[in-house]
């Protein structure tokens, strides 16, 4: 009986976790037009951010969620790190892997941005 209860709870956990997986989130990556659609701020749709891009302000790489880094754009925002254009295709058409200044680091990093 106890093992059955544990199995049910474990199954529920797996289902909930699996159902909530997504490449993007309100924090970083979701489409947006206004900041109310994001946890922090919205980079409005433009050539640099096609379809809009939810992100969080940052001053250092450590302030960004995993898979993102702090690019010195728009006063410092977290953008997805990449090593080539295919890494940015999940963001949709018009996104490419480009070099950008690392905020607070003095080096270049590769991030996904609009073409």
């Amino acid at each position: 009986m106890r093992s059955a209860i544990i199995a049910v709870i474990a199954t529920m956990g797996v289902v909930l976790t699996a159902c909530q997986h997504n490449d993007v989130s309100r924090e970083v990556g979701a489409r947006c037009d206004v900041s109310a659609e994001c946890d922090d701020r919205c980079l409005a749709p433009s050539a640099d951010y096609p379809d809009g891009f939810c992100t969080v302000a940052c001053n250092d790489r450590s302030e960004c969620p995993s898979d993102t880094t702090c690019a010195d754009h728009e006063g410092g925002v977290c953008l997805f790190a990449c090593s080539g254009d295919p890494d940015c295709t999940f963001l949709g058409a018009g996104w490419q892997c480009k070099a950008a200044d690392l905020r607070g680091g003095g080096i270049k990093v590769m991030v996904c941005r609009g073409s």
């Binding site: 529920m12 997504n22 989130s25 990556g29 979701a30 994001c38």
Partner: protein, 234 residues
């Protein structure tokens, strides 16, 4: 008459009410103890005092503690996620005895969770909601069958299955919907005074809901644990 109406509604909804064997007709052969439902009142829905409806081993004496009708109030926690609300759970139940061990359990429950926003548009412009375990709010009415089992010392375990209809809202995202969950669970009750019992209950809700803002139909999956007091009406 009301007992019949409730029985018809529950059977139509796929309830667990079951026919009980009755005495064979005088002209029936020796091998004809086929279970039948004698009109006009199904034996399975007859009052507990009817000897023909007693299931083997059913502790009839303990049934008297529960009574023919009862009400209860309970409070606890519900966990949701995605578009299933979770948070503080407050519920009220109305119990109506259907047979020796089965009660109709009509409930109204309220869930109060946080109103934080958790929906966003993914890169394909589809709305996705990833609410936490204790987000959103909801109100639901449900009809269940509660079956009580033999006492285990002072505890009287029971199981419950039923169907609900609820309204769900996530205020931070201005997302609302209608949910139809199946409920399954169980618990224990302990009589603490004449006509009063303490009840602890856990249940799993699984179903679907229809939502606006392009969300469409989404699965509903929740778990709730509550405790409360049950009062015998008569």
């Amino acid at each position: 008459m009301s007992r019949q109406l409730i029985a018809i509604a529950l059977v139509a909804a796929g309830g667990v009410a079951q026919a009980q064997p009755v005495e064979p007709a005088p002209d029936a052969g020796p091998t004809a103890p086929v279970p039948t439902i004698p009109p006009p009142v199904p034996a399975s829905l007859a009052p507990a005092s009817a000897p023909a409806s007693e299931a083997p081993g059913a502790p009839a004496a303990s049934d008297d503690e529960i009574g023919d009708q009862g009400i209860s109030a309970a409070i606890g926690l519900a966990t949701g996620g995605r578009v299933t609300p979770g948070g503080l759970r407050i519920a009220g139940h109305y119990l109506y005895q259907l047979s020796a061990r089965d009660w109709f359990d009509g409930a109204a429950s309220f869930t109060f969770g946080s109103g934080s926003a958790a929906c966003f548009r993914d890169r394909q412009d589809a709305l996705v909601c990833s609410h936490g375990l204790a987000d959103g709010s909801g109100v639901e009415i449900s009809a269940s069958i509660r079956r009580l089992f033999a006492p285990q010392g002072a505890f009287r375990p029971f199981a419950r299955v039923g169907l609900g209809l609820g309204l769900v809202r996530f205020g931070g995202d201005d997302v609302s919907g209608v949910a139809i969950p199946l409920h399954g669970g169980g618990g224990v009750r302990v009589t603490v005074a004449p006509a009063i019992a303490v009840v602890a209950d856990g249940e799993l809700a699984l179903g679907f809901g229809g939502f606006g803002h392009g969300l469409g139909f989404e699965p509903q999956l929740g778990l709730a644990i509550t405790a409360g007091a049950e009062f015998r009406l008569r």
